[in-house]
Amino acid sequence: MLTQTTQGSLKQPTLQLLRGLRTKSKNSRVATVSAATQRIITGLSVLSGRKKYPRILKLSNEDLIRHDTIQAAWAQYQRDIRTDRQSVLDKQYDSIINAMEDLKITNMELFKIANKKEKGKRFPLDARIPVDFPPNKVWHYEVKAPAEKK
């Protein structure tokens, strides 16, 4: 880059080459913004879908029917699971009612204890929920505290 410098007031100005000096873009339409503003613009453009949308998915007639068939089968499959589960729950519920009614006739003392509300009962802390892959230690065989129940 050529820059004019004055080394003395009496001397003629000379041209000196400077490298790496940042210059303004020749394209005046591109506005230069500060780094902070640029960060905001980038952040906003992440939220905008304008340049990120894929093309619309167009299915042919055959594929549309195939897709609908899959969805119908899935809905039916889920419905079957739901009705199965509900029928088992119904059976279990009826069974509890029957057992309790029977216990009431058989032994009132046992019935009273069985029917007592367990206030504040929670799932135990060491109960685990199913996960996709088993832990390194699959089962804990040692029991720390003696299984003392109140």
Binding site: N61, T69, Q76
Partner: protein, 364 residues
């Protein structure tokens, strides 16, 4: 699983026809998709592209979503097993309603049936593609009609006050479509509430009555009445109802249900014309006249009445003959330059020219 995928892929590439067959018990042609589409529908889109696309360019460009073939194969097998169970139940069912319901259930998710129904003309009753004798197509058509046609017709009947000006109410049970097949060359289904030119309505309309319920159609008969509740009654300074056309003792089937001149000629002597057709000849400067087509189930009784006078009380008539309204249609007619010719053709007297009223006093 991988191996079975490879096998199915190979089959897809090599096969000359699909190996999939639904659990259908009848061999009705409409239960199969046409051979042009069938393989692509059941085995996946071939490398040459979907047959439903016309252009070679777009055929080549098309690609199915990934995983659809494998998912479809298992879904098809699952639904087929359900269908087999439903057919087994239907074979034991005694009640025809229950049997029809089970057969519908067995075929409702058959992709070939759905394909045939989705991409073929639903009003033409071409049994090659859509056969309304099969309960599944009636169910699909009923759903299709309820989603749009039924709502549109009811809305038009109510906003144009055909209900309650002609009959108090209507619980629609059958789809009524109307068409004027004549010299005008306009051969379109009339949208309910449309204003038609007197030229188009010169000759009687053709009416299609599509029943959906599982009925014994060999016994039941049908009546069609077209009434015009907007005939000026100058003596009483009001309007009166006249009957434009009446047919009774019509018998239909699920597929052969289009009451057009051809069918009437074929059934000559079997049906009864209550009164001959009088085309709309509206008076000049009067608002549009409504022509309401009512369709009734008349049961097994025969209705052999013939009227001489046009003046008509439709409520009394329906009550007298125990008719059950199942559907209706409406069109409107306004005076136009052709009315004179229609009057001449039917030998009717000159019409009255009423004084022009501007503004909002006449809403219709």
């Amino acid at each position: 699983m991988l191996r079975s995928n490879i096998i199915s892929q190979c089959r897809r590439l090599l096969s000359t026809g699909t190996t999939k067959t639904w659990a259908s018990k009848t061999t009705a042609p409409s239960l199969k998709a046409s051979t042009h589409y069938r393989d692509a529908l059941l085995d996946g889109i071939p490398s040459t592209g979907p047959p439903s696309l016309r252009s070679r360019k777009y055929k080549q460009r098309y690609s199915s979503p990934e995983g659809i073939n494998e998912a479809f194969d298992v879904a098809y097998d699952f639904l087929k097993s359900k269908s087999e169970a439903a057919y087994a139940k239907a074979a034991e069912a005694k009640d025809p309603q229950e049997k029809a319901q089970l057969e519908t259930q067995a075929e409702l998710h058959n992709p070939e049936v759905n394909f045939n129904f989705a991409y073929n003309e639903k009003l033409e009753n071409d049994t090659q593609y859509i056969d309304y004798e099969l309960p599944v197509y009636r169910e699909l058509k009923k759903k299709h009609w309820e989603n749009y046609g039924q709502m549109l017709t009811m809305q038009r009947l109510e906003t144009l006050a055909a209900i309650p000006d002609t009959l108090p109410t209507l619980e629609p049970k059958a789809e009524i479509s109307l068409k004027f097949q004549n010299h005008t060359g306009v051969n379109r289904w009339v949208e309910a509430g449309k204003k038609l030119s007197s030229n188009a309505t010169t000759f009687p309309p053709s009416v299609k009555i599509q029943e959906f319920d599982a009925l014994d159609l060999t016994k039941g008969k049908y009546t069609i009445l077209i009434v015009n509740p907007d005939v000026p009654d100058i003596e009483n300074n009001t309007y009166k109802t006249q009957i434009a056309w009446g047919l009774s003792n019509l018998s239909i089937t699920y597929n052969d249900n289009f009451i057009n001149p051809a069918k009437l000629l074929k059934d000559e002597g079997k049906y009864n014309e209550i009164i001959s057709y009088l085309p709309p000849v509206p008076e000049k400067n009067l608002p549009a006249q409504r022509f309401v087509t009512w369709v009734f189930r008349q049961g097994e009784q025969s209705l052999d009445i013939q009227l001489q006078k046009r003046d008509f009380d439709i409520r009394q008539f329906v009550e007298d003959f125990k008719l059950e309204a199942i559907g209706a249609h409406i069109w409107r007619s306004e005076w136009d330059l052709n009315v004179r010719e229609v009057r001449e053709l039917y030998g009717l007297p000159q019409g009255t020219v009423f004084a022009k009223v501007k503004g909002t006093r006449r809403l219709r």
